[in-house]
């Protein structure tokens, strides 16, 4: 149908391909190269072979960051479960329901730095959380929430979950509204309770959305940075207790000027992301096969 136009399709594609080439494809190739070099951004890179990767194996902070990033993935199932619950709650024709739906969406548009700062102060030594707990008599002395090595990561995860629920529940809500009403009617005739109806009708019906949210939110969890940056005031937390893969990459590359070493971290991150994506694609294919 388009024999007449030889150059046109390429002209349409040119700006996008050029931009993605310069800002995505080239950097990936370059980061591979840097990962085999000793590079401080100022002086030219020096080839060192596998030295960076060997150093990574013995780097305790790297393993800690890797562990933290995997622990962070726990936000994904939590977000999915809570967002589905919220979607079920808001999926009814109530007066003012639109206002509630909009309210739940507020954290998703407010920006990670703004909400990170507000949480940073909620959990401050002199913050609201301590004030409430003290006045209720739960604790006697204020807790140093964000200076407690075991608490930084859980608080950051809680923040991610809190900010994500409203956003993801919109996706599930759209999915719920696509489920034919007859399925629920049939379930009711079979004597299913409300809970059973959602378990046997809503959950299977939401499968495409669950896979989508699982992919999106787990990739986001692997890349978490802003929350950690703000909650720990750029430090990564006491004893690196909040350091994630991307935070460690950032610290090595842009505060310590170890660009070569950071590139090696980036390659590991890429490997993990690829592995994840392959698993996800498999899941998607299985889903297509079910239909």
């Amino acid at each position: 149908m388009t024999r007449r136009f030889k150059a046109t399709p390429y002209l349409f594609l040119l700006p996008a391909v050029a931009l993605i080439g310069v800002f995505v494809v080239y950097p990936i190739l370059a980061v591979f190269y840097y990962s085999f070099t000793d590079y401080d951004i100022v002086r030219p890179p020096v080839w060192v072979g596998l030295d960076n990767f060997r150093r990574l194996l013995g780097d305790g902070t790297f393993w800690l960051a890797l562990t933290h990033s995997f622990v962070y993935l726990l936000v994904t199932p939590t977000i999915i479960a809570l967002s589905i619950c919220l979607a079920i709650v808001v999926n009814r024709k109530l007066r003012g329901i639109h206002i509630f739906r909009a309210l739940y969406f507020v954290p998703a548009v407010s920006g990670s730095i703004a909400i990170g700062l507000s949480w940073r102060w909620l959990f401050d030594r002199n913050g609201f959380i301590n004030g409430i707990l003290q006045s209720l008599g739960v604790i006697d002395t204020p807790i140093q929430w964000l200076a407690e090595p075991g608490l930084v990561l859980p608080i950051a995860m809680l923040l991610t979950i809190w900010a994500g629920i409203g956003y993801y529940s919109v996706i599930f809500l759209a999915g719920l509204q696509n489920i034919p009403e007859e399925l629920y009617d049939a379930a009711r005739i079979d004597g299913a309770s409300d809970l059973q109806k959602h378990w046997h009708v809503s959950l299977p019906g939401l499968r495409p959305q669950i896979v989508f949210v699982a992919v999106i939110s787990s990739l986001a969890a692997l890349k978490v940075f802003d929350e950690i940056y703000v909650l720990t005031s750029r430090s990564g937390g006491i004893l690196d207790s909040g350091v994630t893969m991307v935070f460690y990459l950032w610290k090595q590359a842009f505060t310590l000027q170890h660009a070569g070493y950071a590139a090696a971290i980036a390659i590991v991150l890429l490997g993990i992301t690829l592995a994840f994506s392959i698993v996800n694609v498999r899941l998607l294919e299985r889903q297509e096969g079910d239909r």
Binding site: A16, P27, P107, W121
Partner: protein, 313 residues
């Protein structure tokens, strides 16, 4: 939400259920009474849901509300107290004035507007252009280009920051200027896919008819396709705008002078500048959240529709 909060509603629910049960056996009700009864029963069964909705809304909104209330606190109002003081005793706008005097918030705001508008306009244009041949033309290398773009979706953006940083300093020489934040965000494989999806839903007959009438491909794209997919364009544009507006890590690497910072970068600087002056930080946060919230309220319909549509795409 004006009555006595969750507890009051729960009590109301119990009362309504009880009265509905009492009314049940009464025979010969008039239409109006029937309707009233139905409405009351509806309210009764919904009251529980309103409790759940309100509790959830409170959890969602509270951190923002706390920021707003704190930002209005005067010097005599305690920041840390047991129990925490919610409503400022001596409300003042002085904290806002102090933030505006010490940091160029309005300049941050202006920079954010420039960056997000440029990124949105150009990104949508570039993506919509690339999506047309991928959706509606046959040419050599189409599959190849398509899968290359698909592959870039998987790559975490942070991976590209080291080489992009070096490019910015050594090749493009735009370090510490707004173009450094704009250019790397101009093409997104995700937007290309969403636009491709939208174009595919346009019937081929329409395009062929225009071609028969002598319209070139550029005119087909600009005058026929783009107007038809306007809702998709709007959704993609809003997404791109909000994402760009809130983007932090890359801008924080590129923008160091106060006059060049975008809002998130400036906000992070504010945390360093006012370190433990909670009132000022709260004022800064409130000032940056309000504009994007207003924007969200205006475009909310498209935003939600776009998000819902993205899953099918």
């Amino acid at each position: 939400m004006s009555d006595g909060g969750p507890a009051g509603k729960a009590v109301g629910a119990v009362g309504a259920v009880a009265s509905a049960a009492v009314l049940e056996p009464v025979a010969g009700l008039t239409g109006a009474r029937l309707r009233r009864r139905r409405r009351r029963r509806e309210l009764a069964s919904n009251a529980g849901w309103y409790v759940v909705l309100t509790v959830f809304a409170a959890i969602t909104v509270f951190p923002f509300l706390w920021m707003l209330l704190t930002s209005l606190k005067g010097p005599a109002d305690p920041i840390a107290s047991v129990p925490p003081q919610l409503i400022p005793g001596h409300p003042t706008l002085a904290n806002y004035q102090r933030v505006l005097d010490s940091l160029p918030i309005l300049k941050f705001f202006q920079n954010s507007i420039v960056v997000s508008t440029a990124v949105t306009g150009l990104n949508v244009l570039v993506s919509a252009m690339a999506a047309y041949p991928l959706a509606k033309m046959r040419f050599r290398g189409r599959e190849w280009i398509f899968y290359l773009l698909l592959a870039t979706l998987i790559v975490p953006t942070q991976l590209t920051y080291i080489p992009s940083f070096i490019l910015a300093v050594n090749v493009f020489h735009y370090y510490n200027t707004l173009p450094a934040v704009i250019f790397p965000s101009l093409a997104s494989a995700f937007n290309i896919f969403l636009m491709r999806q939208a174009f595919r839903s346009v019937p081929n007959d329409l395009i062929d008819a225009a071609r028969v009438d002598g319209a070139g491909e550029w005119r087909v794209w600009w005058q026929i396709l783009l107007p038809i997919v306007r809702p998709s364009l709007a959704a993609v544009a809003i997404f791109t705008f909000v994402t760009s507006w809130n983007d932090f890590l890359w801008p924080s690497l590129m923008l160091h002078d106060r006059t060049q910072m975008t809002l998130p970068v400036g906000l992070a600087a504010l945390q360093g500048f006012f370190s433990s002056d909670f009132r000022s930080i709260a004022a800064g946060v409130t000032m940056t959240v309000i504009p994007i919230l207003l924007f969200f309220i205006v475009v909310q319909r498209y935003f939600v529709r776009g998000l819902a549509g993205a899953v099918k795409g």
